[in-house]
């Protein structure tokens, strides 16, 4: 399984989903795929059954039983509700129970994800939430649906879905709590998969490809841990200046992370 070493992630799973919901098909056929997805979402089908076929069959870790992408989605992302238990909204008096792997957060990730996908598909189709399920869309010529790109930002206080669009491109951003995974302290990746690339003055990264996801930041990071215990005079040095501090420094660097690190393949995942 990918390790999500950045706060920003697309990776194989979200790239497959984006490709599936942005099919290079004639307009009516492309719209039909999104409409079918919308119908199934509204009918309450479990999300893992709506995934593109390549995700439904993705075995992340072979074994007995194998750990599949559907397992990852249902266990890590959705917690108990993903394992078949009905989601029971907690009351204010209930003890906290973390959802899935989301650090110190409890909530209905499944429902948020589903609603976000539903709204994303509707925006891509150019229809409103209460419009009927039709492949023809608004009156006039039938247009292809907008392309959809999914991005995951990991390290926020809570789980939310964000829809952004301009003209014929929809960008969906999921901001989620951290998942406990380690985070690269610099934009420089340590994964040296063949699809990793580094921009250099002599050989800049190539923007001529169909897909891309680059990270731009300073090359070094310095951490300032909290001060150690020292004796002080009365009232002096009482308040902490803050929690740990971070300084980034050095040259501005541009990297193309590998897909394994949350980047995308240059040809996408058709």
């Amino acid at each position: 399984m990918a390790y999500m070493p950045y706060v920003h992630h697309i990776g194989r799973g979200f790239d497959h989903l984006g490709e599936y919901l942005s099919p290079p098909l004639p307009p009516v056929a492309a719209r039909k795929r999104l409409v079918d997805f919308r119908v199934a979402l509204r009918a309450g089908a479990p999300l893992h059954t709506l995934l593109p076929p390549k995700l439904q069959t993705w075995v992340i870790t072979p074994g007995s039983p194998p750990w599949t992408f559907a397992d990852h989605l249902n266990d890590d992302w959705f917690g108990a509700s993903g394992k078949g238990a009905a989601y029971i909204p907690p009351t204010l008096k209930d003890p906290f129970q973390q959802t899935g792997w989301w650090f110190q957060w409890e909530g209905d990730a499944n429902a948020i994800l589903r609603e976000t996908l539903l709204r994303a598909v509707e925006v891509a189709l150019g229809i409103n939430h209460n419009d009927p399920d039709t492949t023809t869309g608004p009156s006039g010529p039938v247009h292809s649906p907008s392309s959809i790109t999914f991005i995951w930002t990991c390290g926020a206080p809570f789980f939310q879905g964000w829809l952004n669009w301009r003209d014929n491109a929809v960008t969906v951003v999921f901001t989620t709590p951290g998942n406990g995974k380690q985070l690269y302290a610099t934009p420089r990746p340590t994964d040296r998969s063949p699809d990793y690339e580094e921009d250099t003055p002599a050989v800049p990264l190539d923007s001529a490809y169909r897909c891309g996801s680059w990270v731009i930041g300073q090359e070094f990071t310095q951490l300032f841990p909290s001060p150690t215990l020292v004796p002080q005079g009365l009232g002096q040095g009482f308040l902490p200046s803050s929690t740990s501090k971070i300084r980034t420094l050095g040259k501005i660097k541009v990297y193309k992370p590998s897909e394994n690190d949350g980047g995308v393949l240059e040809i996408g995942r058709p």
């Binding site: 390790y3 690269y184 994964d191 004796p231 002096q236 308040l239």
Partner: protein, 113 residues
């Protein structure tokens, strides 16, 4: 109130008071331990404080918090001007009460897989 307890209360009011308002009866001694007679002592304390000024870069929230800590005092006999204060304060609890969140990711220079 003992000299030790009075010193710690003054320390809490002076130090914590830079970021918080503390009422007249809002600093409480939980446990007091004398060590080496008048030279050293330890106090576990709690204070009820209102976040009215910038604290650790955070704008005032107006939140009322319970702050707890343990202070060891050296040279108790030297009084306000000479005593030294070793403080262990539950700042994590303070941040939590203010809604400051950890982001659930640990920074590392390399990730070994």
């Amino acid at each position: 109130m003992s000299t030790l307890a009075a010193l710690v209360e003054k320390d809490v009011r002076a130090g914590l008071g830079e970021g918080f308002d503390i009422g007249g009866d809002d600093v409480h001694v939980l446990v007091a331990v004398d060590i080496d007679g008048a030279e050293r002592g330890a106090i576990a304390w709690e204070a009820v404080a209102v976040h009215t000024r910038e604290f650790a870069g955070l704008e005032p929230t107006g939140a009322t918090l319970k702050v707890t800590g343990m202070t060891i005092v050296e040279d108790v006999g030297s009084g306000e001007t000479g005593a030294k204060f070793w403080r262990v304060i539950d700042w994590a609890g303070v941040y939590s009460q203010l809604g400051v969140m950890l982001n659930g990711r640990s920074l590392v220079p390399e990730i070994n897989r």
